[in-house]
């Protein structure tokens, strides 16, 4: 076993936590460095909880739930926050939706009031639905349709999954949002945006001992919702290589390789993520050195793992330099992954990854907004908020043998999705 380095022990994130009778879990992190506070709610609902004919609902609610409540007029939600000198936003993925405000610490109660209003009786009127539908349409166009290589995730997901709801992107599809009735929206809200499906995090310049009383004041009256039924679909292993060509409005070809990987929180996830870092984190990473610097085949390389609650994906993506065909680029990518399968990663290279992770861990927890998000994620997906402090340790325990094993097990050329992005004008 590796000794846990000093930084990791010092970096343990202090918190207290408690539950309300309605099932709301509350985590408090005290930090008086700056007179600000982050108030956030993570709802355990994402695009994988959607009906196959209502794709994009969770993300749509990310927009809708800013519209107001019984006590907050349309458009007033953000006004309250900005008038108080705060910022607010939200984000959604396959598994959860996260809403947050960062406020001056004397405005903590405002944050609690806003989040409790959102949970208790969000207001959604037809005008709001219609406007946000247009906004989401533009979001889709801006991020996915009018961007070179913007459709990658959509194209990968639909080939990497056949039965699991991860097959559709979080942004969803406009035809489903258009087809949805008001009742569909109400049902979704009543089912998922309930205290027993949420965790509230308060991080910053607050007194932990006062929090229970304050939180109860705003949240205790919110009734518990029904038990949530989680999606049960189990995606069978990819047993072959799915290969395709996508023609896009681009000049330079690109290669995308997607491998199915274990769920977030499993031991192998950390090894897989480490492997991706070995490939593309930092200038001395393997893909950067071999493909960009030495062979000069690539303009850009990146390898990422998606930390999903159910088995997710690792995606390697490279854009070819001028004049380099996609086939040649792909061969070079394959060679690097083969190397990890065939040879043990030298210890110094592994130490380098660990040094990078150590820095990243400290940086990632140096702002109250980051701490709030990490605590909420650890509670929702890793079995408890205390696991936020153990993330680094789990990475540090990965061995060269682990890296080789996961490379063999998950990064197989016979079970993956490979896409070649080619310029439209090369379409036959």
């Amino acid at each position: 076993m590796l000794a846990i380095p000093l930084a990791a022990q010092k970096g343990a994130i202090a918190f207290t936590e408690f539950d309300l009778d309605n099932g709301l879990h509350v985590i408090v992190h005290e930090d008086h460095g700056t007179p600000i506070v982050a108030v956030s709610v993570m709802y355990h609902v994402g695009s994988k909880d959607e009906r196959p004919d209502r794709r994009g609902f969770a993300h749509f609610f990310e927009h809708l739930l800013f519209e107001g409540s019984a006590n907050i007029g349309r458009g007033e939600f953000s006004k309250h926050v900005e008038k108080a000198g705060g910022v607010l936003n939200a984000n959604t993925n396959g598994d959860r939706t996260y809403y947050y405000e960062v406020l001056p610490s004397n405005q903590l109660e405002l944050g609690l009031w806003l989040e409790s209003e959102r949970m208790l009786h969000a207001r959604v009127d037809q005008k709001g639905i219609d406007t946000q539908r247009e906004v989401v349409k533009e979001e889709r166009r801006q991020r996915y349709e009018n961007q070179p290589y913007g459709s990658i995730l959509i194209e990968v997901l639909k080939r990497a999954y056949t039965v699991h709801p991860y097959q559709w992107p979080t942004i969803g599809f406009m035809e489903d949002l258009n087809a949805a009735s008001e009742q569909d929206y109400i049902d979704f809200y009543k089912t998922y945006y309930v205290p027993n499906n949420a965790v509230l995090v308060i991080a910053g310049d607050v007194k932990a001992q006062d929090m229970r009383k304050l939180v109860e004041k705003y949240f205790a009256a919110i009734p518990r919702g029904k038990e949530i039924v989680r999606p049960a679909a189990v995606e069978p292993p990819l047993q072959r290589e799915v290969r395709d060509v996508v023609h896009d409005q681009i000049q330079l070809p690109a290669v995308v390789q997607a491998y199915r990987i274990p769920a977030y929180g499993t031991a192998d996830f950390y090894a897989v993520d480490m492997l991706n870092r070995l490939l593309s984190n930092g200038n001395s990473s393997r893909l950067n050195v071999e493909l960009k610097d030495r062979a000069q085949k690539a303009l850009y390389v990146g390898a990422f793992s998606f930390p999903f609650e159910h088995p997710g994906l690792a995606i390697a993506f490279a854009i070819a330099n001028m004049g380099v065909p996609a086939e040649e680029l792909e061969k070079a990518m394959d060679a690097e992954i083969a190397k990890v399968r065939e040879e043990l990663v030298p210890q110094p290279e592994l130490e380098k990854l660990k040094a990078q992770l150590e820095t990243e861990f400290v940086r990632d927890n140096s702002r109250v907004a980051g701490v709030a998000s990490n605590l909420a994620t650890a509670h929702t997906f890793l079995g408890g908020a205390q696991m936020a402090s153990r993330e680094l340790e789990r990475y540090l325990s990965v061995t060269p043998e682990d890296l080789q094993r996961v490379a063999k097990e998950y990064f197989s050329p016979d079970a993956r999705v490979v896409l070649h992005y080619l310029p439209k004008n090369q379409k036959p």
Binding site: G33, G75, E82, K83, G85, E138, Y218, L299, M322, R367
Partner: protein, 705 residues
Amino acid sequence: MAGLLLAAFTHCLPMNAQVDRSKPPRPAPAPAVNVGQHTTFLLDNGMRVILVEDHQQPLVSVQVRFDIEPVLQGDRTGYIDLMGEVLATGTAAMDKETLDRTVDQLGGDLSTSSDGVYASCLKKNFNALFDVVQAVVTTPTFPEAEFEKARKRMLSGLQSRKDDPDGIADVVGRVLTFSKGYPYGEIPTENSVGKVERKHLEAYYKRFFRPEKAYLVLVGDLTEQEARLAAEKRFGLWRPVPLSATLDANGHEVIDGLGPVVRPTKTPKPSRVRRVAMVDRPGAPQSVVRVVFPVDLKPNDPMALAGQVMNTVLGGGVFNARLMQNLREDKGYTYGAYSSLDADRYCGHFSAGASVRTEVTDSAANEMVFELEHMRLNGVKPDELALAKSFMAGSFARSLEDPRTVARFALNTYLYDLPKDHYATYLKRLDTVSAASVMAAAERFLHPDHAAILVVGDMERVGNKLVPLSFERGVLQLDENGDPYREELGPVPAGVTPQTVLEAYFKAIGGREAVEGVRSVKRSMSSTMMGMPVTVTEWNAEPDRYALEVRSGTMLLQQVRCDGTRAKRYGPEGAEEIIEMELEEMEMNAPPFPELHYAKMGRLVLPGTVQINGEQAYKLMVMTDMGSTFSEYYSVASGLKLRREEMKATPEGTMKVSSDWKDYRAVKGVLFPHLIVQKGPVDMSLSVTEVLVNGASDAKYFAVD
């Protein structure tokens, strides 16, 4: 259904007397916001060290920043950016791989730019990383091989930018804001990057990376003593290369390896009148719209803060800003609309922008211009002012969570010549910004009538609609480098001339003899205008008679008659005589086949070939003796005419009008198009229901009363 209230639960709630949910809770007393302190001292060589201690996290960052005045790069534009990129690819002691590995093994980050280096890591690794920073700053070698790689990457990047609408908008927006004659408006192109040599990078580095022009900014878990020792050790002995102050005949400084370096003499000014420019992206689902102009605003301007408050209300940072509320929340045109007002030591600028769906491009651009005008004329309301000020005060407090903010404040104070207490008094000064001072800032900094409006989108679908926004009454088409657009045409094979193209056309539609035999034609067409079915009838007769009727049912909407001498247009508002150029053009185009007479109209040119709807076509330009020009496109394979295109003067300005000719069918041995798709000023599709060749003389239709 009226407002849907998701309040299904509330009726069964226990009464909770303590909470009045109807109003937002009152804030507790405001916490004090303390701007942290910095320490500063000079090294013997003139390098200024700024230290901000912060011991909350075991992190340290270091920045070396050089104070460099902008210079023009001219036909080698790109070399300064390349210098910044190649800077960390080799030092006296390390090649690129060693350097990269060293940084990564320390778990650190190191990045370089054309004005310095930034690095950060955990405290325990700081000394080693600082050594690397020192080597990069004082002994870079600019290896030839790394230079070539960086240049290749830059060229690939330029290539891929062609399909990135935001990237195009950024670059062309800069050209429109500052012009290419100012450093901020210079754009690297394939051509200019091709002219850069390694020695240019090194020469620039040697001239401008000098200790007496440098700031060394240290932030984090360091004591003052540690910082002093570390700084002295790395940079205390760094001595600058002596400057040779040679000037050329024009008074430009001559730099070894670079030659004369030109500094801008004039600061960009907003354009005389509002202009509209487009970069064409056929088929784009969205248009990137920008409204830009240069602004005379330096960071130490007494009105700078009022300007920022004004911009916050207009479109900066807050969700409740007017542009966001108008274009996104009210109209649903976009995912986000923003504006920025950037103060700069040399030349500030304003930009408002959004990505909007293609159909609403002109409406969105209009709304943006409206918001600028509205702000100038009417200023801000008290609640907007209060929100913007609170938000800015909150942002200021939040930014202090990062100790680098305090260091940035200190650095700015030196760079921008700000009062020593500029940031210490920020909140107090912000508090005193009034509606009147915001109004004054809007008047001074917003120039909607002198803006450049840039649209990166589908020109065919939106170009004409943008004409009314331009005071020049036309849309300027630019390429992705911000230069005037020039159509890329394929070569014309030897032996092909305007005459052979026209003869091939006559042959394709039935032969010259048959075409010359057509003395008059009556065409009936059906279409829709503003959702209403209409019938259009057109008469053409040799040599110069023409008539047109547009009807909806039995109602006559419009009529044109030309008897070869005079012409009149009849509409619901009465009759109007058509005269001069318009009359001449009408007569010229009156014959059933005016192509027979092109040779007599003026000069014919065949500049090249181009794709029209996926078909290779010859472009034929007719420059008439009257001074007008139109273009036609003839299929290389079939000889048929595929499109006619011209610029037409309209009451709103000059617009492009094009008609695609499709579905050719024979009538009395001659092929006539049976589907005409017209674009601009009104888009319509005309399907031909009947063609009557050499029918009974319809003299009455041409008669002008």
